[in-house]
Symmetry: C2
Subunit: 474 residues, 2 copies
């Protein structure tokens, strides 16, 4: 396996195509006030949570229906000009940036919950519905949707990046929880990738091909999701540990014993301090596992007892329980805001997030050496992790005005990715490739597999208009 090319991803390959004036005119004619070329609107759609600085898209179309999306794509296709789907703009990897120019297709107004099938545990939504929006809609049915990236991301964006979050250890990721999609193709045609049947062997798995394709194979216009009954009992707990290693060893044993823990998050002591400062939580400022158990009252009790016994073996202490919904919400909201808490701890900074994921048996090997490297670098960082999945995030807090800080942070990430790959892991557990991990993907998957991805891309988007320049060069 080759080492990742050092720092090649510091500068994305920006080659904006010239926007045809007649395309803009056609879009304005078709969409009227739904099409904007205002500088502020374009700029808002030309950035995300990544560190890259790329000129904005040429125009923004606020789609309100599948037909709107199809028409926008058809017009762009006539001019072989790019389109870039936009949900809430919470990508960490540069997915939304118009590196080859483009029309941003903002689907945030496609925010209808189309049908809730409580008996089948499914819901069909438009792509602009957010994860919290789904949960608000289905709660009265006694159901919930577990996938929860940090931001209140759009379901379309979550499908496009194969997102996960804190519940994935038990409930899986978008890979497991999208049943079917409606997609607008590169020609502006509308297809469906599946039915509401729970399983199917009917041809190629277009659903899973679209999930994680980052807008490069089609624009998602409808998503059918799996839902779960709200657990009869839920219990959340924090537990402090003297070292990160002790916390990680606890997690490994919990997972290997097959305890069906619903959430199992690591937060290092420094990040607990940032979270306390931001969310006024008063948590013990030590390395911490934040856990949640779902099930019947008896099963939750059983799981919690098992985990407490394991934690005790590793000097875990101060098991503190949050049993009321309000306490739990406060705790998890704080966890979800860890990223923003960290950003605010160093005014003007940006975070360079890592996203490696390794088999659970290799988690300690991967994490502990990387902590030592980060400490030695002197760059401030936050560390949170969906450690039950073997996935964790360093966020190196850098001053974007100081290139040397960014280079050092990217250097740390390079070392971490190389380590994760050598441990049979992946460079990205849930954030996607975008612009930031194109070199890493090549190292991880190999030329043959990436060439296969390129072949698929060329076959489905011969003019390379669907979010071009992402995932791999072509």
């Amino acid at each position: 396996m080759n080492a990742p090319t050092p720092l090649a991803h510091l500068a994305p390959d920006i080659r904006q195509r010239e926007v045809p004036a007649t395309l803009i005119a056609s879009l304005q004619q078709r969409f009227g006030a739904q099409c904007s070329i205002a500088q502020a609107v374009r700029e808002q759609h030309g950035r995300d949570e990544s560190v890259y600085d790329v000129p904005p898209p040429a125009a923004v179309v606020f789609a309100q229906s599948t037909q709107d999306v199809a028409d926008a794509v058809k017009l762009a296709a006539q001019y072989q000009y790019p389109v870039i789907p936009f949900g809430v703009g919470s990508s960490l990897e540069g997915h939304l940036l118009a590196v080859q120019g483009g029309i941003s297709i903002d689907v945030s107004r496609m925010d209808q919950v189309l049908s809730i099938n409580a008996e089948d545990l499914t819901v069909t939504v438009q792509p602009g519905v957010t994860r919290m929006g789904v949960n608000t809609a289905v709660r009265s049915e006694g159901l919930f949707f577990p996938i929860d990236p940090g931001a209140d991301a759009s379901i379309g964006g979550m499908a496009a990046t194969r997102a996960s979050g804190t519940n994935a250890v038990r409930y899986g990721t978008m890979r497991e929880n999208v049943l079917a999609l409606e997609v607008v193709t590169a020609k502006g045609e509308v297809i469906r990738t599946g039915t509401r049947a729970k399983k199917s062997s009917a041809g190629y798995d277009l659903t899973r091909l679209m999930v994680g394709s980052e807008g490069t194979l089609g624009v998602i216009t409808e998503v059918t999701l799996k839902l779960y009954p709200l657990p009869e009992a839920i219990s959340a707990a924090t537990c402090s540990f003297p070292t990160i290693e002790a916390a990680v060893r606890t997690v490994i044993q919990v997972i290997q014993l097959g305890v069906p823990i619903a959430r199992c998050e690591l937060i290092d002591a420094n990040t607990v301090r940032m979270v306390n400062a931001h969310s006024k939580l008063g948590l013990r400022e030590e390395h911490m596992l934040l856990m949640e158990f779902h099930g019947s009252p008896a099963s939750v009790k059983e799981q919690a007892e098992t985990v407490q016994e394991i934690a005790a073996d590793f000097e875990g202490q101060a098991f503190e329980w949050a049993t009321t919904p309000e306490e739990r919400t406060r705790l998890w909201t704080a966890r979800h805001n860890a990223y923003f808490a960290a950003i605010q701890s160093k005014p003007g900074c940006r975070a360079i997030s890592t996203d490696t994921c390794v088999p659970i048996s290799r988690l300690a090997d991967c994490l502990l050496d990387s902590v030592a490297e980060a400490d030695a670098s002197g760059i401030p960082y936050f560390l949170v992790g969906h450690v039950g999945d073997g996935n964790f995030h360093f966020g190196y807090l850098i001053d974007p005005a100081i290139p040397e800080e960014r280079e050092r942070a990217e250097g740390l990430n390079n070392q971490l990715v190389a380590r994760a790959l050598s441990l049979e892991g992946t460079c990205t557990g849930e954030h996607g490739v975008g612009l930031h991990k194109m070199d890493f993907l090549l190292t991880e998957a190999g030329t043959g597999a990436v060439d296969m991805m390129r072949s698929i891309k060329r076959a489905l988007d011969p003019d390379n208009i669907l979010n071009p320049g992402k995932i791999f060069s072509i």
Copy 2:
């Protein structure tokens, strides 16, 4: 939605390409005794459990390594001549038949368990290992692999058809349980589609694209599977019902309540009789649910009590428990042999299997009308179902020498598929498309989606040599 073309799948489109003599000579030179052109060997590799009669492949290569597979594909590719992967030959849908001629690549000698990673709950196997072979290998680690189609199928074949079985209601299908693959491409190159990380957002999901592609996009040469800890407690039970409807309504309620039942199978009274005759089980010859519960002793007890209460509401009676491993094995072996029991009940017959799967709320609508139709037809049938998934199989037992029987059976299947599609279901829950459901796939997925599949096929296999003529015409 168009109705499926009636009976078009009675006769597959057979256009065998002429095999180049120099290809056979090259294969014999490269593979020696591993290459056979004996009539008996070819015929054995030219049929499966489907009803079709197709001339056999031109030769059989018994691959013993990935390199063997790659070399066989490379040689065939030089002549643009088809290759057809072969595991144990248990396909029900004509997957293995050489409709365009071909070299059968038999991987049954690639039967090594390559590595068991008990700590990560993964195992990597060669494609010729069978599902029982995997379980034999991992049992001493306290682990099991749940996916169990009726036959002791090969893992490669199960991946290729996106197989499932009786445990899918809790553990998912091959879609959810294949972590990564090694695949030989149409050019004879070897790629890997993923890592051992539990989740990943690293580019297109080539693993899920290959799973269910029925040998048309690559030849699977290695499979990394998820494993599960053997449950602390297991309990199996049968429960009899006065009507199929009562059994089905019980299942629907069990699933909708979120009971994490591990297996939930319907066997109709007639099929119970066939199973009794074949396996000497002495089961009550009434409509029956066959269930299994996995978990801690407390959780198993809780689940079983809930299900008993629900069953009682629907006049379920005679809950009979099989608690020893021997009793359970006897029961599930009998279930897995239902297909063969049925075949033996009518000497010389073949079974035409249906495989529809619908959302659980539509299960009663789909199943009961189809039972009435089958009863009215006078064709003997068996009926078993993974009803917890909304998936069930009629097996119409026909005399292959009487075309009219086959036409009537296919007519019943047509009606069933049309019904399932109108209820938001799929024509195939787990058997795959093969030759038998090509028309149904087109109706179910629509021209646009099937055209997308064709584009992918052309991109990855431009000379159409990988199991051509399956899934869709091209």
